[in-house]
């Protein structure tokens, strides 16, 4: 499975995915698209967790457990975040993060 794939390949791909997600989270004009960026970042984190688990401590379930908890956190985050977005849309008719400035002085 690992024939000829060094660990840093995974780390670089995960880093690229993380940075793409970061860009998405910072530069999109739609809150749902922002959350998509966050999901990409969480996926990148999970690739790293499982890559380190495989290459450094394959006997220990620690890496697997952490990856599983990232899954749960990602699900809860998406559920609550999207619910908030739906609610905001219902009240404001817009989900552009730049236009939602009720809290600004």
């Amino acid at each position: 499975m690992l024939n000829g794939i060094p660990l840093y390949w995974y780390l670089i791909v995960a880093a690229a995915m993380f940075c793409i997600g970061l860009y998405g989270a910072l530069a999109r004009t739609n809150a749902i698209a922002v959350l998509m960026g966050v999901e990409l970042m969480l996926n990148a984190v999970n690739i790293n967790l499982l890559a380190f688990w495989r290459y450094l401590t394959p006997e220990s379930p620690a890496g697997l457990a952490f990856a599983a908890f990232v899954f749960i956190v990602a699900a809860a985050e998406a559920a609550v975040g999207l619910a908030l977005i739906i609610s905001v849309y219902r009240n404001m008719n817009s989900i552009d993060p730049e236009k939602l400035d009720l809290m600004k002085l």
Binding site: N3, A68, A75, A79, A83
Partner: protein, 143 residues
Amino acid sequence: MSYAPDDIRRKAKDGLAFIILPLKAMRTDYAFIGVTLIVACALIGVVPILNYLIAPQTPNKAKRETYECGMETVGDTWVQFRAQYYLFALIFVLFDVGGVLLFPFAVAYNSVNLWGVIVVSLFALTLLAALGYAIKKGALNWE
């Protein structure tokens, strides 16, 4: 990329020998799924193309119209979707994610003591409590 006959004989018990054989070389059971994915995509992807080549193609404006009971399409595709759908998906996500964690436990069931069972029962009851809240709030009522 080589294989040893002993390993094949040992693994033949696990699966169709003519499939396990090459998998030994790649040390994986998943390669076959990848190959099936590609083969199925090729075989099934060709079907619409064949259909396009065989069947007569005489499109006209009326044929290419959206089929909405013979009426002309009015307005956008979006009718008012209700948040109800989202709530169903929400409870589904809850049980889906919770269920994923139950699978490793189920595999390890025989080597777990009663405390583990109690922990998992509490976990399952927590999920059930969320479902109970959703039912109580009427989130799952179809009106």
